[in-house]
Symmetry: none
Subunit: 309 residues, 5 copies
């Protein structure tokens, strides 16, 4: 399929990147149900590492099978599947070429007592597995945030030199941040901006609340009405180089479908580039997950039906 | 698009390759008009290097523009465009993601007096340009053939380690080979076999004649009727690991369209994996080229129309 | 011996690994009394490092001799012997080819005050010694767990690139984990899952108790009866990519033979891939050890007698 | 299977090799029908490269399929299959662990006009493919023999450092040697000795004739009766460090079964370590090949039947 | 001199080591007064680094001269001289070949506040100086013990790859160990075992006391009478791969000659491989030192007189 106009405009925001990196971004944006719309739907499966297997998969035990997770991304015709090296390696061969892959190259577990992540994969792994992108989590605000930034920069630089795209999961956390600050509007926007400044092509943040956490930032946010999620999403997009970086938003833990779809509408209206839907997809049954993802895809403007001709 | 059955069967022949390499092969086989058919149509543009620019492009001066050549591959919805690093680099950025690319990593010119090629690009170039594959010419029979084999093996090993596919243009030439031996059936089959043994995933050879050049091989070919091109193509496929390697055939210099299409029919019936059409496409006008490529695609079983929905 | 069907099915779970790595896994699964059953019995001898020589070998002083330990693995026709570089190096030459070897490449001693291990061997050591696999301990939950994960990933990546298999001893320990949490069901399953995500082909965990240690995981385990060991083993297998990774269970300190064999029955019924039996074999006399290992092998379905024809 | 006495004695000849190299030699000597006898039967398939595909496979077209060749080695329960990287790579994954592999790492074609070989594979390839050994051809006497010796030494040193075994195909050829000199007794013995001095663990030579080619060597051979092949084989064994190196002999082009078996009897009586049987096996039908290999195995003392229990 | 039977038996314990490493061990075991006895007497001079020059040499100011120390080892016909790179470098040239050298490659000073050592020399230094072995100190139990183990493993691996032998000074220290624990029997045996597992060919420990320091080890030592030093030495030898590793014992600070010789008798009866005598030799006058070393050599069975024929 020829590159669509919406995708071409997004790619123009990446002038100066090597052609390979742009081609990888194009491969994500031109794949699946949302191909050509300029929107992305990504299935991330690192919750087994982050929260443990039973908390992630016991609700829908089929999801213990890596192949189930791949197949879900393929059946729902999502833009990409993201996961740690062991998970991608378990099916990348058998299902080579069926769905774009994003290698989640650092990981944390819930047994840890500090906010940090282990670097668990390399750009070489991503190339061998045929991934379109490599991704890293950063914890802006955490005691070890700068070490994380440095690890991530190393990875992004090597990824770009090899024609891959780079994604950052930007999760403010730790240090002086209270739990409710982690999704405060100023903090989420700040995290998205740091990710852009670190060179991410794709940025993943949580949906921001109305809260403004940094005292020094209060003035900057004063006098505007932040009550609508759409407005807050639009502000995060501003922080991501005025929308020149690709920003996707997450839904968090299993939630009501209507509520989720409302959020997606706000993301779309606010100019966000899409959704990353993990637990809300693989913790539902296969049919319920497809129904939800169908509805989300519809909001993002999918032209074609999920079922392939 | 989900991997089709014909493509899945081809990929099964590449058991043991890294997932990235398989995914790259899939990306060629699932792109363009022939997507999913298990056939390939490749536009190669290294004739400027090999024969000089005027001999290559004067007939259709638009083809002096690299972008014309890219656009031809895009408009005709071909499986891939192959060319030297300078040519690919001239447009890979602007047209990133529009057509799979194959980096022709060694090149020769017609000013040379020995049969050899210069290595003019690296796997790193291919990664930066977002190529699906890297390709090399070998001249079995030439005085420097073994140096060429060694250069090619280095390149293929590095390509595979980085999740790329590898293509070999296998052109018997030089040494004791007379000009008419270069397309002799035994020699073409031998060249395809050497390419497979050197680890090529995709092999390009010329269409073989009925001639048997090696005295010692006469017995092995005796008692069979090699008059039909289809039978000769089928024999070349045998030599390519019983058809487990992807073999595409070239048309050579500008030729009559009817004759060319007849050849394509023979390739298809003989089990070949497709055509590489250079001068016969870019030396025609854009419209004539598209008409020819349309007809070839039809023979290879393209289901959909060239014009995208 | 031709690869048996159970082994072939296990190898299919490793699609995408290099042929050398698969061949090494096959060499473990096709060796000794359990050859072809899809089960493994491994003799690990790193207790001298971990607990000190007298605590490990004083009960059966013959075991101070490295050759005794090799010979025990050979006589009992076990699947493999695992140990640190000095131990394997002491006999690998004289007994080359008699029993598959797994190089335990990091080690800790009981004089240490923090939960960590020293990297004491390299992939190059493993190649020189002719090992089938290289193995590492991780301590999920420990303060230094992420450094350990990174060391292990480096080792696994290099092992795979050289056609070796990789094993992880996954021992949750340290940080906020109480001693009894280390064998809690949720924690053991979590550790096995992390090992799989880090790319281990073979995972070693302790047998899990009924305890659920993580507060946040209680819900995921509620409403199911975890009283039988078999059910708990089956849950750990789920966490190891739905049984696609090879998981072996340990017996711990010297125990009663009947109790041990009961545990083995539960491992077998729960779908575990076998046992790693250290102190329970080499702290018994040679005859008692062989008798115990015979009985365990019988449970796992060894078809042939220990004594070779 | 425990290492047998005959194999143990052979391994003692390799004192000072790394354990991994010895274990790889043991894996060849303890595999298949001849396991434990101290004899080897190897299927080499590089004739496609050396002579061309039709001359090699047209007589038995099934042999164009790499998998046929693997399966022949597996069905006949041979000690190993040897071939170029492309051939081994075509099936090493699917058939991982079924038969030991020897990577033929240099290759020549019959289009060449000088006596040389291209280095077409690396030790890294051998490790990835799970090979037991890497092998090279040398042409003692050829104009480029010293370059070949240097390439081979590089490869052998790297192989040994990585725990692999090394094999040399020692074919005197070129320079001042007449065609009939290539199999002269003094020349074959000389070639075997050079291979041993270059560090080969396994040496492949052609069966020697009674001819003495070097004038200066006439005296050394005078006064002994070389009429029996057995005596000549025994002399070649002398030249291979008094039999401390493993020497296998080839049969050459397709020959009469009775004649071949007579030769095998002479090899066995002369103390040779076995046969390398290429064209005489894969140019026969599958059944005829198995029958021939059965008979050869019987001469070498195979205790068990080919059909596995 | 031909390798004696006792030395041959020791070398057999190093099966699998490269020939160069074995030859270096042989050069130590076949040099000086104890040549061929299977025993070693080593003069270590790193006390200047460890304790300061005056504390080391003021008692016998001649010992400030490096050449004095070399000459002492030469005159006493000791097995080897061990020291830091600067000390060996001061005389290795003039006295090349007079006495085997062991390069002490890490060092600590008494100004330090943590238990660690600096790596102060390389395998390359050892090769340039013509050393037979390279040596390292480890502090099992110290907070930085694992970093030390990793440094030592790197060094040993490189030493072996270059045909050198490796020695470990195993000194439990730091962490939870009380000063009197450092020579407790269980701890010394543990330290010797760790050194063996790390691949040391020669291990140096202090003479153990009757104390058992680790609570968990009490049972393993219960019910045996450890009162005689000989029995304790014999236990340490057990811990060193049942005596397959070379273990030498130190005398510590300047002591009474009779007491020292009694200790040596216990070492000899317990199966130890000899003594390392530093301060007790160079802090005595030259004549007294020679007299003491004569007596020790006599106990170890030196057949010949010190004065060379």
């Amino acid at each position: 399929m020829a590159i669509s106009e919406p995708v071409r405009r997004i790619l123009e925001g990446f002038d100066g990147e090597r052609p390979g990196t742009k081609a990888k971004l194009a491969s994500l944006l031109m794949h699946g149900r949302l191909a050509g719309t300029g929107k992305l739907m990504i299935l991330p499966v690192d919750q087994g590492f982050e929260h443990g297997p039973a908390r992630s998969f016991a609700m829908n035990p089929a999801a213990y099978h890596p192949q189930y997770l791949f197949q879900l991304a393929i059946d729902a015709r999502l833009s990409a599947l993201a996961g740690p090296v062991g998970l991608l390696g378990a099916c990348a061969d058998r299902l080579a070429g069926e769905v774009p892959l994003i290698l989640k190259a650092n990981s944390a577990d819930s047994l840890a007592q500090e906010h940090d992540q282990a670097v668990t994969a390399t750009v070489r792994d991503a190339l061998e597995l045929g991934c379109a992108a490599i991704g890293y989590t950063i914890y802006p605000g955490a005691d070890r945030q700068y070490e994380m930034f440095e690890e991530v920069r190393d990875g992004i630089a090597e990824a770009r030199a090899n024609g891959l795209a780079a994604m950052i999961w930007a999760y403010p956390r730790g240090g002086a941040l209270a739990h409710e600050d982690e999704t405060a509007l100023d903090i989420v926007a700040y995290a998205a901006h740091i990710a852009a400044l670190l060179g991410a092509h794709i940025i993943k943040v949580k949906l921001p609340t109305e809260r403004i956490a940094q005292h020094e930032a209060q003035d900057a946010y004063a006098g505007r009405n932040w009550r609508s999620l759409e407005t807050r999403v639009a502000h995060v997009m501003q922080a991501a180089f005025a929308g020149k970086r690709i920003v996707v938003f997450s839904g968090g833990p299993l939630a009501d479908q209507r509520e989720l779809v409302e959020q997606v509408r706000a993301i779309a209206r606010g100019g966000g580039h899409g959704s990353i839907v993990g637990r809300n997809s693989f913790q539902r049954t296969h049919d319920e997950a497809l129904a939800l993802l169908d509805e989300i895809a519809g909001v993002y403007g999918a032209a074609e039906k999920r079922v392939q001709a």
